[in-house]
């Protein structure tokens, strides 16, 4: 049964990792603007590189 002590600590460690991931997300500004990225994702990548001749 004493293996449980280790397992519980391990599970807690995993939870802490997720908490850290959440903090990182906040710090990197992901919660500052939750509207613009939804628009940004719809842009296509450029069909032609800047060098090509324009019509």
């Amino acid at each position: 049964m004493s293996i449980l002590f280790v397992l519980i600590l391990l599970s807690l460690l995993v939870a802490v990792l997720f908490l850290m991931a959440f903090f990182w997300a906040i710090r990197s500004g992901q919660y500052d603007d939750d509207y613009t990225p939804a628009m940004r994702i719809l842009f296509d990548n450029d069909k032609e590189p800047a060098e090509t001749d324009k019509s």
Partner: protein
């Protein structure tokens, strides 16, 4: 270009979508309404940015109503330092507010700025805030070049006077997320670790586990108490220092009792403690806090004149024109003010025809003609041509800006987040809790020390007014959102309470109860024949004066243009000319009837044909639709007043609408308005001021709740507590009523919370409060309160017609006005 191509292209501008019939400019097989639009197109095309047009059709910004700004002041090192957010000597970061941002094309173009200027390293747009943040290489480019580039493609940044010295801070917003995250994490884990205890862990055989879980919980809860919960403890301490019981005092009492009791139990191995309840409590409180702060990104409630003034002005120094910041404008400087520009400081007119619109400052709608050598005041807008003026007072000491030096603006009278209602309840609660707790202690003390201690802390724990603390954030937060959906934007939840307890409503006239939109010219006098109509229309066509434009617009539909000969324009007086051999004059009363003397005060644009004065065109104040309904409904509950900067021509009409009890005052200067509000407050009234322009700014600030009415919610709003979309004006009575009902809902929630507390206390005083009961009772009461607050406020909104996305139709407003009557009856 052959004719048929034009047909194929269509009649709207490829860049801005303007539809003016024929498109004068053709380029690359596309039609443009002006050279400006064509230029932007050619720039974008050269740089391979035509995706701009593919994302949204005709997404460009029209160049029609834009004046060319000068940005030479942006080369000044002092200015650069004040404007940019950050610089490390190599790279700089700056953010601009671009009011033109409106679609995904804008977003796309602004995030691809580096194709227009390779020195731009990164540009990011925040769409809701209409902001772009640009990182650039300061060796390769300059701030001025970037701003000029933005202006050329149609996104001239808003560089107001307030941009100098404004710095960005987003740390505050983020800390709440950290706190919620941490509390949620701890809450979940502590609950998980407490489960065995709930299910009955045998303390003898599995004692190791009990202790292990206990210590883990204690470690987990410490950051929650010290970081996530610190605001509550601090606020309570601050309240106590100021000898003021706020809602955080009983909450903190509960938090500390929970922690102390639990820590004691865990450390002495006498129990499992109530740490799950503690973490849950703080978690719920923080979520409530997050819920009640709804931020309207594009609405600023704290603007002062600085936002409206330009950052720089054009001055003549050493014989040449320079652009300098307003801070550097000195007395004696000669400024050049172009058509449509704002006069930044009090000055005398040196040169040019000044026709100044002071509506911005005074709310009065007519333009004033200023003679050479006369004074012009800061805040006036030049309406035609260029003038030169000599500054006689610094910007900060000018007439308009001096209003902002009034006491009201310097002290922080603001409706805050702290709720007076909650604080009143807190005083009551704290008293009752302490009374019950100590009587329990006194009752048990002679019998059993441990039960006494147990019961005492249990009372403090269970009576913690967490439900009370949750009721206001969720109910008011929901109210705020529902009203926001209807285009009535409140600064924060505190405004709801203030509105509900107001006793007196003061209206401004121009722009508030009258509408600026579609102001119609009314003709008074001898009726004009069809032919005479055409004469007037033809003459007006030749003048660019706003009044002539207005007349032309009014007559355009029915008339036809005739050739005008001997056209003459008399500045500040009027215009004349010969049409079909008849002499037509249009202008001020003193112009068409010189005999009446120079001082004639007759308003309007007069028409004179062949020396016969026919009549005049005047712009009638048009009252907002449904004004009388709104006033009738408000009359029952509030005392009403009008404070108008205009003259009293409309007094009789207004008296009919507002009734005899109300107080109507005219010719009020901004200062007068402020004082009038102050007087009312001294009489014990709680005043709502409803106004629009900067001339109401003082009154809006002085009043208990300042509501700004605006046709265009995103611009030109003076500092206020709430913003009402002008189209929703008719629903104001309903909005006010909804605020009152929200208060009622909060009271009801308090009552329900009290019931829960009585149940909890009945366990607590007997010393029977087990962690399981606490763990069930506390979240249950919180959830009930949240559901009750949100549900009832939504139902109330539905009954008042404040639901769904707002429609601008009139019948909707009418229907909800009817609902109001029914509910009142």
């Amino acid at each position: 270009m052959p004719e048929n191509v034009i047909d194929a292209i269509g009649t709207t501008c490829y860049h801005c979508g303007e539809d003016e019939g024929t498109m004068p400019v053709l380029y690359d097989d596309k039609a443009f309404c002006c050279e400006g639009c064509k230029m932007v197109y050619s720039i974008l095309q050269e740089n391979n940015l035509c995706t701009y047009y593919e994302l949204n059709q005709s997404s460009g910004i029209s160049f029609k109503e834009r004046s060319i700004e000068r940005y030479s002041h942006l080369d000044n090192q002092d200015v650069i330092e004040k404007v940019i957010d950050f610089s490390d000597g190599i790279q700089s970061r700056v953010h601009f507010y671009l009011p033109q941002i409106h679609c995904s094309s804008c977003l796309w173009l602004l995030e691809n700025l580096n194709r227009l200027n390779p020195a731009i390293l990164q540009s990011r747009v925040n769409f809701l805030k209409k902001e772009v943040s640009i990182q650039y290489d300061q060796k390769e480019t300059s701030l001025r070049k970037i701003v000029e580039m933005l202006a050329t493609v149609g996104y001239a940044p808003a560089l107001g006077y307030d941009k100098l010295g404004e710095k960005r801070s987003s740390a505050q917003e983020r800390s709440l997320y950290y706190k919620i995250g941490l509390a949620g994490f701890a809450f979940g884990n502590i609950m998980l670790l407490s489960f065995p205890e709930y299910l009955g862990l045998d303390a003898h055989t599995e004692g190791d586990f009990v202790q292990f879980f206990g210590y883990l919980n204690l470690i987990l809860v410490l950051p929650v108490l010290l970081y996530s919960g610190q605001d509550y403890l601090r606020s309570a301490l601050q309240g106590l220092r100021q000898k003021h019981l706020n809602i955080d005092v009983p909450v903190s009492l509960g938090i500390l009792a929970l922690f102390g009791r639990s820590a004691f139990e865990i450390l002495t191995h006498s129990g499992a403690g109530y740490l799950d309840s503690l973490a849950g409590l703080i978690f719920f409180l923080l979520v409530g806090k997050w819920f009640q702060t709804k931020i309207y990104h594009t609405i600023s409630f704290d603007r002062d004149y600085k936002s409206y003034f330009p950052m720089a002005s054009n001055v003549i120094r050493n014989g040449e024109e320079q652009s300098i910041t307003l801070d550097d404008v000195e007395v004696g400087d000669e400024l050049i003010i172009r058509n449509g520009e704002l006069i930044p400081a009090d000055a005398t007119l040196l040169e040019g025809a000044a026709e100044i619109d002071y509506s911005f400052v005074t709310g009065e709608s007519r333009t004033i003609t200023v003679q050479l050598g006369e004074k012009v005041f800061a805040g006036g807008r030049q309406q035609r041509g260029t003038i030169h003026i000599q500054v006689i007072a610094k910007v900060a000491q000018s007439y308009l800006t001096s209003l902002w030096n009034e006491e009201v603006f310097t002290k922080r009278h603001q409706v805050g987040l702290t709720s007076k209602l909650a604080d009143r309840v807190a005083t009551f609660f704290t008293g009752v809790i302490l009374l019950v707790a100590f009587s329990t202690l006194v009752y048990w003390l002679p019998h059993d020390l441990s039960i006494a201690f147990n019961a005492f802390t249990s009372v403090l724990i269970v009576a913690c007014p967490c439900a009370v603390a949750l009721s206001i954030p969720f109910t008011f937060g929901n109210t705020l959102r529902l009203l926001g959906n209807q285009h009535f934007y409140l600064k924060n939840t505190g405004v709801i309470e203030e509105i509900a307890s107001a006793t007196h409503i003061v209206f401004d006239k121009t722009g508030t109860i009258t509408t600026n939109r579609g102001a119609v010219l009314q003709y008074h006098g001898t009726p004009l024949s069809k032919e005479e109509h055409d004469l007037v229309l033809s003459l007006a066509h030749h003048s660019a004066h706003p009044k002539s434009r207005q007349i032309e617009k009014t007559l355009k539909g029915t008339g036809s243009y005739l050739p005008v000969r001997h056209y003459q324009s008399h500045t500040g007086e009027g215009i004349e000319g010969m049409v079909l051999g008849r002499r037509v004059m249009l202008g001020a009363h003193r112009f068409v009837m010189p005999s009446s003397g120079k001082t004639s005060l007759e308003r309007g644009t007069w028409v004179c044909i062949d020396d016969d004065v026919k009549g005049c065109y005047s712009d009638e104040a048009q009252y907002r639709k449904g004004l009388s309904q709104v006033i009738d409904l408000l009359k029952h509950r509030f005392k009403l007043s009008i404070l108008s900067g205009d003259d009293d021509l409309e007094a009789k009409k207004l008296r009919e609408v507002f009734g005899h009890e109300s107080n109507l005052r005219f010719h009020q200067s901004p200062q007068d308005k402020l004082k009038a509000i102050h007087q009312l407050q001294n009489q014990g009234e709680k005043v709502i001021m409803i106004g629009d322009g900067l001339n109401d700014a003082g009154a809006l600030k002085q009043s208990d709740i300042g509501i700004a009415v605006s046709d265009e919610v995103n611009s030109f709003i003076p500092a206020c507590d709430a913003v009402l979309d002008a189209a929703q004006f008719i629903r104001l009575p309903n909005f006010v009523r909804f605020c009152s009902q929200s208060i009622g809902i909060v009271y009801l929630s308090y009552f329900v919370a009290l019931l829960y507390n009585i149940v909890g206390l009945s366990f607590a005083v007997r010393g029977l409060l087990s962690p399981v009961i606490a763990a069930i009772l506390m979240p249950l009461s919180s959830i009930t309160i949240v559901a009750l607050g949100m549900g009832l406020s939504s139902i109330a909104a539905f009954r008042l017609g404040i639901n769904g996305e707002s429609t601008q139709e009139d019948d909707q407003g009418h229907r909800s006005a009817m609902t109001f009557v029914i509910n009142q009856g």
